[in-house]
Amino acid sequence: MTADHPIVQLSGVSKHFSGTRALEGVDFACFGGAIHGILGENGAGKSTLIKIISGVLQPDSGEMRVNDAPVSFSNPTQAVASGIVCIFQELSLVPDLSVADNISLSSPPRRFGLIDPRAQRRRAEKLLARIKCEDIDPNALVRELSLSRRQMVEIAKALGKDPKVLILDEATSALTSRDVETVYELLADLKAQNVASLFISHRMHEIEQLCDTLSVFRNGQHIQTFPKGTHSDGEIVRLMIGREVDAQYPPRPAPAPRPEHLRIEDLAWENQLNGINLSIGKGEIVGLGGLDGQGQKELLLGLFGVLRGMSGRVSIAGKPCRPKSPAEAKQGALRIALVPEDRKTEGLMLAMSIADNLMAASYDRVSDGPFINAAKAKRAVEDGIAKLRIKLGSPEDPVATLSGGNQQKVVIAKWLMTDPDVILLNDPTRGIDVGTKQEIYRLMRDLADQGKTILLYSSDYAELIGCCDRVMVMYDGEIVASLSGDAITEEAIVAASLNVSDTQTMPGLPHA
């Protein structure tokens, strides 16, 4: 901390998304000439924080100051004008434009009012040279570059905006180790020029190596900010987790031998899944843990017949299972159901009625020949509504009129109407209220007790601990830890997720 006055200061900033809080009364400051690491679990509010700082989102309440002057950005361009530049996790490059075009996209050098391609090219060369990427041709199309090169172009683009505050959101996750070194040097450079860097990474060792100051976020709140080196890894992990448990889980039954139902061997797909081996019994709930994007979603989609070109073997009840589409996955001997990740685009037809949404997966069950049997359909819809206690006015209302929790119940009810044997759930409780969460937990246990096989991915570790008989932690497309019974603790899951293995709280964990 070299400066007395913070460059960016937030006080009492809150942000809510349709009922769930993303940030609550956050005070935060960052200083010039410092590299500031931000830590937190999935959904802790890190992304919302940087989106507010960089003008992508507007806070519901609270104040933000830049160099002591209050500001309110209504778009990222205004933030850039104040010197706040963000390198987002999702790449923001236009694939069909050249590298030089992309780097100068928002304010290209002009001559007589037209873009000056030569000046643009020289500018790109200079910026790329600064991050030692002379190998990238400024005239090449971005789509022709590898992911790590694209990320470097993204960094060059950000540098071109002359940042006073540079935000890196997982900007190193796609880079080669040589590039990572370059980025470290660059950050050190910028630090000497009194630029403030905000660094978000899931790699603990990176943060330790790089940052001067660390801030921990949890549940939308700023927990603590401290200089590097004052807390051990174990203490940091505990700060990230906290101690509060805000949901009640049904009791976990004693471990019992269960007949195997779903068996996965050497499952691989592109480089998202790298040899998954997993066996799940009837009546068992197995959780998938780990950070976002480690292959959990791909595993679920792969089992459901969505992905092309998978290798490996999957069997259900001893018979090979290779559905080519969700339509095949839900039928016959497989009877698989998937509650997808994004209920608004993948789970529901928002403009259609609740009844239509409920029946979307089971028309064959309510039809006689090609015709829908109105009586059967009505009974099925009423059943689904009653089973999940969906709160609604009329089944003919558009599903968009329901609350988030009730919408998710519609998605789950839709699949229960197909009477599945294997239920895959992709983060089913994200963004829904605690009451509905508890109902879903109880429902999952009830379904397991009826002999269903359940595979659950959740970004909420507490949920994995509360609900699952076993938890598989994934990292980089592989299962790096298998936890069961009392070994399922937040410390163990978080440590395995970050792929660090040196905290004292996790005995017997395999080093991955």
Binding site: L338, E346, M349, M352, Y363, A400
Partner: protein, 319 residues
């Protein structure tokens, strides 16, 4: 931002507005004829039946078009599907004429559906290409002249005879309407059209075989266009080049005026019926008023745009 989905009855609003507009057209037209000729031919049942008879060809095309638009796709090949079906039907002649015409529609629908659903070519491009191919084939088949073969008696009967004083073409339109309306409302295939048109990803992940739904819908559209073509040939006693050209835009306009979302997923068949009647009456009132062709085109286009402005913009929010 206001609620994206204001009320349960939002689908009925366009139907009500369009129906009201039909009354406006009729009263304006009648006022005109009363003041200039002192009579009200627009309100005579015979005149209205005759309008519905000419409207039935458009109505059948629009019924098929609606199914495709409900998916968020479009079928720009209906014009030459009509012509091709009519020409092949008259060429073959005899008892096989109508089945051959319908088969042409099935074939064109399968090609369109395959291109859009399996090859993933945007329907706007693919069906336009198919339209052009059909035109080329028909020019090759006829040498560019109107074919001399006449429509079969059955075709003429279906298109221009009267049954109990009512043109039989209207019965055919009615039958097609019932089949389409029942299909959309009461069959799994029909509901899957809405589901797929609303959110194809969610439909696919619900285990709907979305590609088959798209294929099937294009076949429905092809068959409807072919039926309309065969009947139009019966009405005119023979097939001729470009006989379907005047139907493409009115068919799309009728569907959209009837409240079907051009991006798919929402719409009622009753709306398409009302839309067809509106367009037919608008055309005939303009011709009664002896509006010159240029003015007719301008008013016709302006009315379509106006109708869409009134209600077509509201329901765009979809996320």
């Amino acid at each position: 931002m206001k609620l994206a989905f204001p009320s349960l009855k939002s689908e009925d609003k366009p139907i009500l507005i369009a129906s009201a507009f039909i009354l406006v057209i009729l009263s304006v037209g009648t006022a005109y004829t009363v003041s200039t000729q002192g009579s009200a031919p627009l309100l005579s049942p015979n005149y209205l039946l005759q309008q519905l008879q000419t409207g039935s060809f458009l109505g059948i095309v629009a019924a098929g078009m609606m199914v495709v638009i409900l998916l968020g796709h479009i079928d720009l090949s209906v014009a030459w599907t009509m012509t091709a079906a009519a020409m092949m039907a008259t060429t073959v002649g005899g008892d096989l004429a109508i089945p051959v015409g319908i088969a042409i529609g099935v074939g064109v629908g399968l090609v369109n559906g395959f291109g859009v659903a399996y090859l993933r070519v945007p329907s706007m491009i693919f069906t336009l290409g198919v339209d052009s191919v059909l035109r080329g084939l028909m020019v090759a088949h006829t040498g560019g002249f109107a074919p001399q073969d006449a429509a079969t008696p059955l075709m003429r009967t279906l298109a221009s005879s009267r049954l109990m004083g009512i043109p039989s073409a209207i019965f055919v339109w009615l039958a097609v309407s019932i089949v389409i309306a029942v299909m959309l409302k009461r069959t799994a295939f029909g509901r899957q059209i809405y589901v797929t048109g609303n959110r194809e990803m969610a439909a696919y992940l619900s285990g709907v075989r979305t590609r088959r739904v798209i294929l099937g819908s294009f076949v429905v559209s092809g068959v409807c266009a072919a039926m309309a073509g065969v009947m139009l040939a019966g009405y005119s006693a023979r097939a001729f080049q470009g006989m379907g050209n005047a139907f493409l835009l009115p068919a799309i306009a009728a569907v959209v005026i009837g409240g079907t979302r051009i991006l798919g997923g929402q719409g009622r068949y009753a709306g398409t019926l009302v839309g067809v009647i509106l367009i037919v009456l608008l055309n005939s009132v303009l011709s009664i008023m002896q509006m010159p062709e240029a003015g007719r085109q301008v008013i016709y286009g302006a009315v379509i745009i106006l109708m869409l402005l009134v209600y077509g913009r509201g329901g765009k929010v979809h996320s």
